[in-house]
C-alpha cells in the first residue's frame, strides 16, 4: 500500500483474475448444461430479459422499501437507547445480558415463528429487518459512549459543562465513529434479514424472485437478483465509508 503501484498492473491482475474465473465457469457450465449451471453468458441474457420485462424492478422496489423502513426504525430505536445505555451504568448492567443474548441469537431461526404471529405481509418483513439492525446499532452506540475519554469528561466538568452541552460537545462526537460502525454492520444484517424474510413472507421482493426461479431450476435467472444484492451490499458499504470520512474527519476507523 505504501509504494505507489502501477495501476496498469493492479487492474491487469484484477481483471485478468475475473476473466479466468469467468472463462473456467463458462466452459464448465456449457459442458454440464448451460442453463442449469448458469454460465455467465446465460446469466447475462437472463438479466437482459428480466430488465426488459421490468420484472426485476418490480420485485426490487418492495425490497428497498422494506429495507428502508426496517433500517430507519432500527436506527431510530437503536441509537438513542444505545447512547442512554452507554451513559448510565445501571441501565447498562441491566440490559447487557439480554442484549448480548439477542445479538448472538441467529435471528434467522425465528423468522418462521414471527411469520406465524405477524402474518405474511410487509409488517413481518419490516419487523425482521428492524430486529436484524437494532442490536448492532444499539451495542455499538453504547460502546461509543462508554469508550469516551475520561480526561475529556473531567475537562467538561472543570469548565462547568451542563449535561446537554456534554452530550453535544463530547459524548456524541466521541460515540459517532462507533455509531457509524454499528450502522455499517447493521446494513449488512438488514440485507440478510430482508432476503430471508422474503424467502418466506409473501410474493414480493428479490428474495421471492430468487426462490421462484430456483424452484423452477432456472439458476441463471435466480442469480440475477443475487447480482443486484451484491451491488447493493458493495454500494452501501462504500457509501458508508464515504459518510464516515466526511462526518468524522478526525478519526480513523473505530474498532469494537
Amino acid at each position: 500500500m505504501d509504494r505507489a503501484e502501477d495501476p496498469r498492473l493492479v487492474w491487469g491482475l484484477r481483471i485478468g483474475f475475473a476473466l479466468v474465473v469467468l472463462a473456467v465457469w463458462q466452459v464448465t457450465a456449457v459442458r454440464l448444461g448451460e442453463n442449469f449451471f448458469a454460465a455467465p453468458g446465460a446469466i447475462v441474457s437472463s438479466a437482459v430479459a428480466l430488465l426488459r420485462s421490468g420484472e426485476l424492478m418490480h420485485y426490487f422496489v418492495p425490497t428497498l422499501e422494506v429495507l428502508a423502513w426496517g433500517f430507519l426504525l432500527g436506527l431510530a430505536v437503536g441509537i438513542p437507547i444505545g447512547l442512554a445505555i452507554g451513559r448510565w451504568r445501571r441501565l447498562y448492567w441491566v440490559s447487557e445480558g439480554p442484549i448480548n443474548l439477542f445479538y448472538t441469537t441467529p435471528l434467522a431461526a425465528v423468522i418462521p415463528i414471527i411469520l406465524v404471529i405477524l402474518g405474511f405481509g410487509t409488517t413481518t418483513k419490516v419487523f425482521v429487518v428492524f430486529a436484524f439492525v437494532v442490536f448492532s446499532v444499539l451495542i455499538n452506540s453504547a460502546a461509543g459512549v462508554r469508550n469516551v475519554d475520561g480526561d475529556l469528561l473531567e475537562l467538561a466538568r472543570s469548565y462547568g459543562s451542563s449535561e446537554p452541552m456534554l452530550w453535544r460537545e463530547i459524548l456524541i462526537p466521541s460515540a459517532l465513529p462507533f455509531v457509524l460502525v454499528g450502522i455499517r454492520i447493521g446494513i449488512g444484517r438488514a440485507l440478510i434479514g430482508a432476503v430471508v424474510a422474503e424467502f418466506y413472507a409473501g410474493i414480493s421482493g428479490v428474495g421471492y424472485l430468487i426462490i421462484y426461479y430456483s424452484n423452477r431450476f432456472d439458476v441463471a435467472s435466480a442469480l440475477v437478483p443475487v447480482g443486484m444484492l451484491i451491488a447493493l451490499g458493495v454500494g452501501s458499504t462504500a457509501g458508508l465509508k464515504r459518510l464516515q470520512e466526511w462526518l468524522t474527519p478526525w478519526a480513523s476507523e473505530a474498532r469494537v
Binding site: E96, P112, G160
Partner: protein, 270 residues
C-alpha cells in the same frame, strides 16, 4: 461562588475508586436484567389471549417433550454435524487464503476487491440456488456453512498478517530464516488473535447458514424442526430449537471471546 452540580462518579476519583461494592451491584443488576426479560415474557404470554403467544414455561415443558421423544437430539445432531464440518472447511480455507492475501502483495491486489465485495453481500441469497445445484442432502449445508465462514476468517487473518510487527519480520530475515519458518515462528503466532476474532465472528454466520439451508431443504435439522412445528402452530415446540441455537451461539461466541482476550492479555504482559 456558584456551586456546580458534580457528577458523583468522577467526583470520587473515577470509576476505579468505588470498585468493590459496585462489582457486586453490577452482578445483581446484570442478573436482574435476565430475570426481568423472562418475567415480562411470562406475564405477557399469560395476559395474551392469542394461542400463538407462548411463555417461557411452556417452552420449558416443550423442551422436556422433545427430549423425551428423541426428536431434539436427532435434529440437533444433524445440524451440528453439518455445522462442524462446514466450519472446519470454511475456516481452514479462509485461513490459507487470508495468510496469502496478507503476506503477498500481488495476491492481495488480485483478490482483495472480490473478497471485500462478497463479504458485504448478503450471501443468504445464494442458498436456494446452491440447494438446486447441490441437492437436499448434507452436502448443501456443508458448502453453505463453509462459504459463510470463509469470508470473516479470510478477512481477519489477512488483517492480522498485515499487523505483524515489521521489526519482527526483519529480525527473522536477519537470521536468514526461511520463508516457511518465518511463517511458523512469526507470522502465524502474531496473527493468531485476529484469526480467533474471525472465527468468533463466523460462528453466528455459520449458524444462520445452517438454519436457512435447513429451512430450504426441509428434510432434517433444527431449522427444519422450527419450520415444521411452526407450520402446525406448535409455537412452544418451534421455540425449543431456537433456544438451543441461541445457547450454542452464545457459548461458542463467549468461548472464542475468552480465548481471544486471553491471547491479547498475554501479549500485553510480554
Amino acid at each position: 461562588m456558584v456551586g456546580v452540580a458534580t457528577d458523583e462518579r468522577s467526583a470520587t476519583g473515577g470509576r476505579r475508586a468505588v470498585r468493590l461494592p459496585s462489582r457486586v451491584e453490577e452482578r445483581l443488576w446484570w442478573a436482574s436484567g435476565l430475570v426481568l426479560v423472562v418475567v415480562v415474557w411470562q406475564v405477557y404470554a399469560m395476559l395474551s389471549t392469542s394461542s400463538l403467544i407462548v411463555g417461557p414455561w411452556e417452552v420449558v415443558e416443550a423442551t422436556g417433550d422433545l427430549i423425551a421423544s428423541g426428536e431434539l437430539w436427532e435434529y440437533a445432531q444433524s445440524s451440528a454435524l453439518s455445522f462442524a464440518i462446514g466450519m472446519l472447511i470454511g475456516s481452514v480455507s479462509g485461513l490459507v487464503i487470508g495468510l496469502l492475501v496478507g503476506r503477498f502483495r500481488l495476491v492481495e491486489i488480485t483478490l482483495d476487491p472480490y473478497i471485500s465485495a462478497l463479504y458485504a453481500t448478503p450471501l443468504v441469497a445464494i442458498i436456494p440456488v446452491l440447494i438446486v445445484l447441490l441437492g437436499f442432502g448434507p452436502l448443501s449445508k456443508i458448502v453453505i456453512v463453509s462459504i459463510f465462514v470463509f469470508f470473516p476468517v479470510a478477512i481477519n487473518t489477512a488483517a492480522g498478517v498485515k499487523e505483524v510487527p515489521r521489526d519482527l519480520l526483519e529480525l527473522a530475515d536477519s537470521f536468514c530464516s526461511r520463508e516457511m519458518l518465518t511463517w511458523r515462528d512469526v507470522v502465524v503466532p502474531s496473527a493468531l488473535p485476529f484469526i480467533v476474532t474471525g472465527l468468533r465472528l463466523s460462528v453466528g454466520r455459520g449458524l444462520i447458514g445452517v438454519v436457512v439451508a435447513e429451512f430450504e431443504t426441509a428434510v432434517t435439522g433444527l431449522g427444519y424442526l422450527i419450520l415444521s412445528k411452526s407450520r402446525r402452530f406448535l409455537m412452544a415446540e418451534s421455540l425449543v430449537p431456537v433456544v438451543v441455537l441461541m445457547i450454542a451461539g452464545f457459548v461458542l461466541y463467549s468461548l472464542l471471546k475468552r480465548v481471544e482476550d486471553g491471547m491479547l492479555e498475554r501479549r500485553r504482559g510480554l
